[in-house]
């Protein structure tokens, strides 16, 4: 392929390149977009053609390539010629300083802001779909951050522990009628037990191999849940899981329900807001524990392990225990999140614990910049909030006609977004770290200098 970047102003070269791009994209999309396999009335597969769609897509790609070569690339080059700013502007530094308190404050008052602007009916969706949903992923991201970001152990089966937490809560609450507050720590303990159990055999593995084995374990747990129908009810899932109560006061329309006790009119929003603060507290707990653990010997051992395992061993750090504690801590928070998830949904099935969930959580951690608490939170908001917003883009229906369903493009864009973000910032959004140990002055380390961890 002609590399236009060497001759930015050469229009002929750009045109030739765009033509070549058009040709390649035409061939690329010809089978899958040019033709569609549909079943006819006799249930036979027949082909229909979509030439208009194919040619417009090719035209868009070629046009994009042409404008990139003629307009955007020279502009980027000119910008790169200018000397880069070495000093960060004071305004940016002030934003950085006040960002965390502001973000925490905002999450605390978020339900009331929504309630004030959208009313009780509209607020339900905003608190539930955006608030609670995002916070669950923030918590899972922070939990996985211990394993991946701090200890450098690449875990692709994290959702298994989430499933263990969810199923322990659902089964124990339904069978024995234990309350949420007893089962929350219990679910955490069970999940971390499984973390140690699955962590133990894979201690010797490193890097990508560890990732694949954890993926296999995650899938094994899911397949067992699907097939162990006597215990888990298989694909049908477990329904009518007891909901958590407000210190013994249930959220229902009865006389002893929450609304009646506090003399309020009954709406489902109270439970949603209660669940919102519950998951907020759990997420904050995860963050607090992680931040404190980083300063303890075990946290420092995790980070040392990520940087260099051999050096760690020569310094007398017990790598087995260090890895297992990381697995156990990460799994415990996943167990908490899982039991919260079961309590919030009231219904769980294996569909919620697929590999895609693990991949989502891992990409949140990597996108956020491994090891950075704020980065992980921002990444969770961006990825989960972004895909949630795509659920209700109804105005697109008016643009593309009523047959157009934006929800089906959600995962398509999600997948491609992962690729683009990796190309744009392979080190994640927040790629600097504050060291937990320092000599005389505290310097921030660029992530480029931080080792990758060999698992």
């Amino acid at each position: 392929m002609v590399d236009v970047r060497t001759t930015p102003n050469n229009v002929t070269a750009a045109l030739r390149d765009a033509g070549l791009t058009a040709l390649i994209s035409f061939a690329l999309f010809l089978p899958l977009i040019g033709f569609e396999t549909v079943s006819n009335i006799r249930n036979e597969l027949v082909l229909t053609t979509r030439w208009v769609l194919l040619f417009s897509l090719v035209a868009i790609i070629a046009g994009g390539r042409l404008s990139y070569a003629l307009v955007i690339d020279p502009w980027l080059k000119r910008r790169a010629m200018k000397p880069a700013k070495t000093e960060a502007s004071p305004a940016l530094a002030a934003i950085g300083k006040w960002f965390v308190p502001f973000a925490v404050g905002f999450t605390v008052v978020y339900p009331f802001i929504v309630l004030a602007t959208a009313g009780t009916g509209g607020a339900l969706k905003w608190v539930d779909n955006f608030g609670i949903q995002i916070l669950i992923y923030v918590m899972l991201g922070w939990g996985l951050n211990i394993v991946v970001g701090l200890a450098g152990l690449l875990d692709l089966g994290y959702v298994a522990f989430y499933a263990v937490g969810a199923y322990s809560y659902a089964l124990l609450a339904k069978e024995f009628g234990f309350s949420f507050w007893i089962l929350l720590p219990l679910a955490g303990c069970l999940a971390s037990f499984w973390g140690v159990l699955l962590g133990f055999p894979v201690l010797r593995l490193r890097g990508d191999y560890l990732a694949i084995v954890t993926l296999a374990f995650g899938e094994i747990i899911r397949i067992v849940i699907v097939n162990f129908v006597a215990l888990t009810n298989g694909y049908a899932g477990i329904g009518t899981i007891p909901r958590p109560s407000f210190f013994g006061i249930p959220f229902n329309a009865d006389d002893n329900g929450f609304a009646a006790v506090f003399g309020l009119p009954f709406t489902p929003i109270y439970r949603t807001i209660f669940l919102y603060y519950l998951i907020l507290a759990l997420a904050m707990l995860t963050c607090y524990v992680t931040v404190r653990l980083r300063r303890l010997p075990v946290g420092r051992a995790w980070e040392a392990l990520r940087e260099d395992e051999i050096a760690c061993r020569s310094l007398g750090i017990n790598t087995t225990n260090t890895k297992l504690t990381a697995f156990a801590m990460g799994a415990m928070f996943a167990g908490f999140a899982g039991s919260f998830f079961a309590a919030r949904q009231g219904f769980i099935s294996p569909e919620s614990f697929t590999f895609l969930e693990s991949a989502t959580i891992l990409s949140i951690v990597v996108l956020g910049g491994m090891g950075s608490q704020i980065g992980v939170a921002i990444a969770a908001v961006a990825m989960i909030g972004g895909t949630e917003i795509m659920r209700d883009l109804d105005f697109l229906k008016q643009v593309f006609g009523s047959g157009f369903d934006p929800t089906q493009y959600r995962m398509l864009i999600f997948g491609f977004g992962m690729v683009l973000i990796m190309i744009w910032r392979p080190r994640g959004l927040i790629s600097t770290r504050a060291p937990s140990v320092f000599l005389k002055e505290r310097k921030t380390i660029s992530a480029d200098l931080v080792g990758e961890g060999h698992g």
Partner: protein, 305 residues
């Protein structure tokens, strides 16, 4: 005994398909040290390309000879899938070469999600099934109540796999392209210094991987006659298991690993439980990596400071 022989035949057939996909994993891992997570989905895309090519041939062009149609479908699927994988490498992996270790893996996971959803959006979420293309079977043993059969489809799969593996082995072992690949596997910088075009060699590796996945895809379509957009993940993981079992980086290992995985899966389904057949394959993966990380034919990995 009859059942055992029947399962042996079925297992080797399934294993040939896994082996062809596994070569893609093992080659890409060998040359750039990355688990190409999207490879299973490339395989799935190739099945769809083969399906569409077959429908074009039979309904638009009216090709009546089945052998000719299959040959054309195979070549078309190989060509288009190679193009797909070449573009994927250019877009999603090449910019990340030399970046930190997790970045290409995440990019590949993103690509895998993208590919399966792309097929779902463009071709619809339902299973696509076609009537059997190749009929005919040979009865090997018949003891009244149970007959061991070898179908023509299975013979074709064995034959195509064997021929393509021979061609491919020749390509890697005897040609200058194969030499360049092995040089890049050992040391990319050094290979570049002695005049090997590393970028081109890596692109070629992805093209070969995709072409073999497309062979597997065409055979899969002929054997099962049904495909859906979600059919990439499980065969992908199993083929990766095969590559690991055979010793990652080793080509004969990938094929033998594939056949072993195919046999384990069919035997497990026949004698124990069909519901847990995926558990058996995944357990093999975990057990191999824990107890025999270098695989059956791989070189042991020496840990250096």
């Amino acid at each position: 005994m009859d059942i055992f022989i029947q399962q042996l035949i079925n297992g080797i057939t399934l294993g040939s398909i896994y082996g062809l996909i596994a070569i893609g994993y093992t080659m890409v891992f060998g040359i750039i040290g990355m688990v190409n997570f999207a490879h299973g989905d490339v395989f799935m895309v190739s099945v769809f390309i083969a399906l569409i090519a077959l429908l074009i041939l039979t309904s638009f062009l009216g090709v009546s000879s089945i052998a000719l149609a299959l040959l054309i479908v195979l070549l078309v699927a190989m060509a288009f899938t190679s193009l797909v994988n070449w573009v994927i490498e250019r877009v999603a992996y090449r910019p990340l070469r030399g970046s930190f270790r997790l970045a290409p893996l995440i990019s590949a996971i993103g690509m895998s999600i993208f590919l399966s959803n792309f097929v779902q959006v463009t071709q619809g979420p339902r299973n696509k099934s076609i009537p059997p293309i190749v009929r005919g079977e040979y009865i090997l043993m018949d003891h009244g109540n149970y007959a061991v059969t070898l179908s023509l489809k299975q013979l074709i799969i064995w034959g195509v796999t064997a021929v393509l593996l021979a061609c491919f082995w020749y390509l890697v072992a005897k040609t200058s392209l194969g030499r360049a690949q092995r040089a890049c596997e050992q040391d990319q910088k050094m290979a570049a210094l002695v005049g090997v075009d590393v970028d081109r060699t890596i692109s070629t590796t992805f093209i070969i991987a995709a072409a073999l996945a497309a062979v597997a895809g065409t055979l899969y379509l002929m054997y099962y006659g049904v495909v859906s957009f979600a059919d990439g993940f499980i065969p992908g993981v199993k083929a990766f298991t095969a590559a690991v079992l055979g010793g990652i980086g080793s080509l004969p290992g990938a094929v033998i690993g594939g056949i072993l995985i195919g046999l384990i899966e069919t035997m497990w389904s026949a004698y124990f439980s069909i519901d847990y057949k995926d558990v058996a394959a995944f357990s093999v993966l975990a057990i191999t990596l824990i107890f025999l990380p270098q695989g059956l034919f791989g070189r042991p990995d020496v840990e250096k400071v």
